[in-house]
Amino acid sequence: MKIGYFPGCSLKGMARAYDESTKIVAQEFGIDLMEIEDFNCCGALEVKGSNEKLSYMLPARVMDSAKGRFHVDAVVTPCNGCYHSLLRANSAMNENAAAKGDVISFLKDVGYGTYEGDMDVRHFLELFYNEIGPEKVKSAVKKPLKGLKVASYYGCLYERPKTITMTGYKSKRDDSENPYFQDELLKATGAEVVEFHASASCCGGAHALQDESLAATLSAAVLSSAKEAGADMLVLPCPLCGAALDIKQPEIIKAHGEKAKLPVVYFTQLIGLSIGKNPKELKLSDPISNPMEVLKSKGLA
């Protein structure tokens, strides 16, 4: 299967650790990712709330390019936001003839192909769980993450809403109320996954700039819930949650105290570490929340 890789804007910016660790892990397990090099922004929440037609056209251009120029069978993205935008555009094209017509004439006008809304869109976490899975991770582990307690956090758009993600309707999708794919992969690395109530709660990241104080309160609730459960770090599959929970963490601590102080990493970084990859190439020094300190103290980095 040929897989197109759509990193999205964040992974080419501040979340480069997620981009690089995803590529390392994919390569190590034999997933051939072909980057859709001329990708554009998926449009995110802002375009969706401003102009419906554009919110379908932008993701459609990415998928048309993946299909027509890179000839792939599926597009995978590690970003919850991009995942939502792509799936949402497809579902609009399949359910709404007018929306489909708008997209097709847009693609034609700009000299693109004839995308019809039929691309198989996958989240990297879901793809990795289904195509590789915990058993293969377990047998590839060279440096078990023994003694490391992690809180496995998913964010919102990875499993919700079911009208778009098809969680509960389509095989290979995670459980929408109790997602577990990341938990199982992390257990396979030898880490201990703690129970905490906020694993599928919202970090408030969508309003990190527009409504800073509320976003910080929501983020603090996630971080402190994980910390109270005894986690040494929070692990996640979304660069937008990463920005809210890691880059904003100094401000969150200022407002809510040390109970919100907790290292934040991407799941691909920990899988990479467990199979013997170098912390430097996994960019484990990137997070502002400093995961290296606890990893060193446990002799894992």
């Binding site: 554009n40 709660s201 969508a206």
Partner: protein
Amino acid sequence: MAENTDKMVIDGVELTGIWKEFLPSRILYEDVTTEFLDEVKKLPGGSTIVRCYQCGTCSGGCTLPDFVDKFNPRRFIDLVRRGHYDILVNENKDLVWKCVSCQRCTHRCPRGVNTQEVVRAIAKFLEDRKVFGKLTNDEAFDEIFMEEVIEDGRIDEVKIVKDFYSKTGRLKEMMSADQLSLGFKMLTSGRIKLFGGKIKDWKKVSQRLKEELQ
């Protein structure tokens, strides 16, 4: 809403007090005005508002009531449907826009209402009627985001943050010691790149997207 202090007994069960607030029946077919409903329906994401049957599943699972007192998507929808514009503006305008788009409401809605997008459409309905007396943070951010996506095809995180602070008159916050040291750390570690990637042939796409907005 009836007063909580009224005495009420149903089937021999004393229901006086807060419990009674669950009792007023849902208004489905009567007392619906189309004036505002039609307006919200036409805004981005607003069309499914008509499917709502007021079960309250959205509000039951909503992230915000824990943090924002009286945040209630079911009520926002009800007020639009019944044309209670004054209540929407006076009591709810500072609530509606606070939605964080977690999608629990849309996910669980048994009627296929795209609740998150409907709530955003209601906020936009209020923004369009200028009830906030100024450009809201959401409007400012959405405008900048749209401009930058259409112009460059991709979002540059540093540029968008700078432009947002600039547009909302808070540029000097970005120059605080904390922010500068964070920026310096990200720049020296290479997480911030000063020259983002350019997309080939974007000009043509950009032109076409601009036509769409006219």
